[in-house]
Symmetry: C3
Subunit: 138 residues, 3 copies
């Protein structure tokens, strides 16, 4: 068994979803690992990871609105140092994922047909987000 | 260290919880791994994984109602190609888990006394759901 | 590659957040593993894990209130054997994490600058919570 670790930098465009499947898939290919696990970790608490449908863009729009209603900017948050989009970003991160573990099957990410991995940017403005991809297996 | 990977097919009965602990435990036993990690991944975005109490069935009923209220079928979802239970299924998947990592301790799943792993089916009708179980350790 | 597994007992003080980063970091150091993955698992369904901002304590207060509003004690829960804080604890666990996987980078937890790992106690009273830390890598 071996371990292969890569850091990825993802430029988001403000609130919304960035499909990072191809970038993570490239790290898996680079590792040469055929059977194992690919763990993706995001080093932030105002952006997060989520696996979602890759087909209809309306799914992502619905999800964005759904989370905006769950944790609205207009709530009376105590922590608002960086503006009204600061604390809802932390709340949405708590509700989604900081890490995601995807099996490596025959040298590729073992995602289902309709699955993609997204970075969900919760801040209003564009950010550069760091992911650590750790592939383990043989 | 070794890696052992198995695919499980779980037949759900529509909205609700299927306890998959025994099936995953069997994959761990089969692996012969004594100390390590068992990662379970669900290859769908309208069903998900959750670890919950295994004792009182009222917990699962409460959880079902709780998530139905958080992401109701009656919300004005844009994505409704497959019916009113389509988009709430994606929302509930985003709120729970696509992957779960459980330690392997002395050749068994290191769950707490009251824990079980469930597939949470979010669609109204029965589905066959694919899980990939990856056990790594020694 | 090697695997190193440790059990940690964390004493919570009732509802709120316990920063367990230093304890998990100690387990990583003890493992001697330089590159790999550290998986943390909580053996309970009424306390959970979350990675959050480590700087402003107001973030944790906001998060506590946010989850209390999402899953209030006053909701008409069916499962209330252990009191009004019983079932909301399970709901909040379902919404946050039972396991978290953090990369090990140069022998340390590869967290971002502002990240810490917390046990989120959902029960009103203090509890002892068991974590299993599994470090894999080389």
């Amino acid at each position: 068994m071996r371990v292969h670790q890569t850091k990825l930098e993802i430029r988001t465009t403000g609130r919304g979803f960035s499909n990072v499947t191809a970038a993570v898939e490239a790290a898996v290919r680079e590792s040469g690992i055929v059977t194992g696990l690919c763990s993706v970790f995001i080093q932030h608490t105002s952006a997060s990871l989520v696996i979602q449908e890759n087909a209809d863009p309306a799914v992502l729009r619905d999800l964005g609105r759904f989370f905006a209603d769950l944790a609205p900017d207009t709530r009376d948050w105590e922590h608002d140092d960086e503006g009204p989009d600061d604390m809802p970003a932390h709340a949405k991160s708590a509700l989604t994922r900081s890490s995601e573990s995807i099996p490596v099957v025959r040298g590729r990410l073992g995602l289902g047909t309709w699955q993609a991995l997204y970075v969900m940017e919760h801040r209003a403005r564009a950010h550069t987000r760091c992911l650590v991809v750790t592939v383990q297996g043989e």
